[in-house]
């Protein structure tokens, strides 16, 4: 039951892109075509889940006991950078085609605020899934990360579909490119607000 709550909340109610403003750079940059968007979402889901798992363990078993919570930002981002490198190497071996199509966007996952953002959220904020406000445990954190990544994927794929259409529309010159994309995102965010209060 809690898992369902986490899924609904992270994917729809508090969508990481459209209501928490994390992951905007890739959202605007990678969403020109649906298949690149899908590939990116899969990569982000994998990195986010793995990163959240490792950083949660790091926080609970290293930083807190050693009273070094101030090293949180430094260690977390290093973990993420390291994981992305690892994913790059593995992907190059397993699926060179996917590696090629993702191109520059793979290393850019390191600077995706969504990944660091989710990793920080699960160790800093209290959540109210399934009753009382509490800090998430490891299992809930990983589910939350996967759910947030699915939310990211949903937003970015929907957005890419709309942008493919926008390419063939007659947009006024000052609005061409990013401005009209942002306004579209605003309307999408408005639509997603309809999910508020569901959880």
């Amino acid at each position: 039951m809690t898992i369902l709550l986490i899924l609904v909340s992270a994917i729809f109610v508090n969508n990481i892109v459209l209501s928490q403003f994390l992951g905007i750079c890739p959202f605007l940059g990678v969403s020109k075509q649906v298949n690149t968007a899908v590939g990116m979402s899969l990569a982000v889901t994998f990195v986010m889940a793995l990163a959240t798992c490792v950083t949660w363990l790091l926080q609970t078993y290293v930083l807190v006991p050693l009273n070094m919570v101030y090293m949180q930002t430094v260690t977390f981002i290093l973990v993420i950078a390291g994981l992305v490198q690892m994913v790059e190497i593995i992907l190059k071996k397993i699926s060179p085609a996917l590696y090629q199509s993702l191109g520059i966007f793979l290393p850019l996952i390191t600077t995706n605020c969504a990944v660091l953002g989710v990793a920080l959220m699960v160790v800093q904020k209290q959540f109210t899934f399934g009753g009382k406000a509490h800090m998430l445990n490891l299992g809930e954190s990983v589910v939350f990360a996967i759910a947030s990544a699915i939310g990211f994927g949903l937003a970015i794929t929907l957005f890419a579909a709309i942008r493919e259409q926008l390419e063939t529309s007659d947009v006024p010159k000052p609005f061409k490119g990013i401005p009209i994309a942002l306004i579209t995102a605003g309307i999408m965010a408005l639509a997603f607000m309809g999910f508020s209060g569901m959880v």
Binding site: F21, I77, L78, T111, K173, P174, F175, A185
Partner: protein, 195 residues
Amino acid sequence: MSRIDLIKKGLIKDNPTFVLVLGMCPTLGTTTSALNGMGMGLATLVVLTLSNMVISALAKYIPDKVRIPSYIVIISAFVTIIQLLMQAYMPSLYETLGLFIPLIVVNCIVLGRAEAFANKNTVLDSACDGLGIGLGFTLSLTLIGLVRELLGSGSLFGWSFTGGDGILVFVLAPGAFLVLGLMMALFNKLTQGRI
């Protein structure tokens, strides 16, 4: 290019928000009021300038293959220092900006300028570049925050003059996207052919 020109460049010609389209996450997430936007911009400015200077100074001693991780460590160290100082001396701004303060470390502007400028130029030039881009960022964030605050809460820098609420959507998520998109279009219109 003179040092003064370096600083001026970041304000309009290379404005990180409207021209370079970098650092979008904090731009959307912290501009619910002019003061919040300004606070965020200034925090980023400090990190950007200091990290530019340090990276420029150490560029000779960092082997090419480890340069990105090294830059990340240096930037995140400065971000943590800003975080601790804000938590101690500016607690209410710290609480409002929340998660976006540590997220300065993944703000593409900071790493981007380190890669593109700081590791190839002198310390003083890099400082000016950081200052200019940082000021441009602060300017955009303050402007966007101003518009959103005016329309959404009916107040200006915290000074309320409608005695109540404005058009609520502007301080909520959709409003951020809409205001930024419209302001960018306006910026494009105003600078058409001039940059």
